[in-house]
Symmetry: C2
Subunit: 219 residues, 2 copies
Amino acid sequence: MRDSYHETLDELTDQLVSMARSVGSMLDRASTALLEQDLTRAESVIAQDEDVDDLNLRVEEQCNELLALQQPVATDLRLVTGALRMSSTLERMGDLARHIAKVARMRYPDPAFPPSVRPYFVEMAAQASAMVQRIGDVIGNQDLSLALEVEKLDDRVDQLHRELLQTLLADDWNGTVEEAIDVTLLSRYYERFADHVVSLARRIVYTATGTRYDELEKH
Amino acid sequence: MRDSYHETLDELTDQLVSMARSVGSMLDRASTALLEQDLTRAESVIAQDEDVDDLNLRVEEQCNELLALQQPVATDLRLVTGALRMSSTLERMGDLARHIAKVARMRYPDPAFPPSVRPYFVEMAAQASAMVQRIGDVIGNQDLSLALEVEKLDDRVDQLHRELLQTLLADDWNGTVEEAIDVTLLSRYYERFADHVVSLARRIVYTATGTRYDELEKH
């Protein structure tokens, strides 16, 4: 049986998993809002962002309490200070999902981009969704091999981001400047979202092993 | 005389001040690189970003050590966990300065934007610079009134960001799509940089008083 100290540490992990699930669900709905001009889903993402902000504050309070009362050391200490930084990152990912939803809402009932770039966003949305899904699993079960997979998915998102920006500069780009701005920002939101997942993966490897691999270079 | 425990806490504060100074200097050089097509300065910002990343890692290690060995409570504990989050934010601000420098370098020897939008960037650069300068002072001397001033400066940056994006959509915009993309991203980098300063200010108020005011809404 787990003592109350370890139960509290487990709870902390559960809260991070739950944040990752919430943020994943926000991202998926934001992507649907964007790809299907679904106003209800856009609104639901924008409303939910506050819940993630609240979760972040709760994680911080729980970490402070744990540190004050239990004085963890070594791996446990890294777990607690790592949780502090991870929940900030997850909160920021929620903000990015909200940004995507806001662009969808602002352009509703029109799509935010011309049909020619839709396939890019379909794939970016799918990759980012797979990444956040996976990171929730990694946080829950500490499977470090999954953490490395996340990097590969991120490489693809970076590639899509670069190609998408190139598309805007091609001779056959026939969208408006407004659409070019929307596409630029949306693409950046997905790319940043994916970068944050990578930084979570690296954080988890560090927490579990005490070894750091190169800090995120690509954001 | 301060005991070694309080000396270590002071050192932690000094490190955050020093990070804020480095990031401020990076931003100023990135702005000069952008506004004056100064390649040397752009390169120096890009090179310096690693130093800020290293400082961030050192702060984290110092915090972990403090927590393990000294077991601070109450305000001191908030100071340490706050430092963890603040140094992440400062590191991210360094990334944004690097992003600005990279756009300047990519377009060199041309400017990244047409002359018509230059005044916006001149003012955004000045506001962001004043904000990071001020936040360094706030971290060092805990003057909470300065923390509130930072919010006002941020309001102006947000306004400039909105106006700049409007400029791209106006009928008399005569730049290219590439310039529109650069302007959009650059403006967003400054706006995010300023938002991060606001979140540092709010963090400092929380650390000093234990009271939180509304979490940053505007990013």
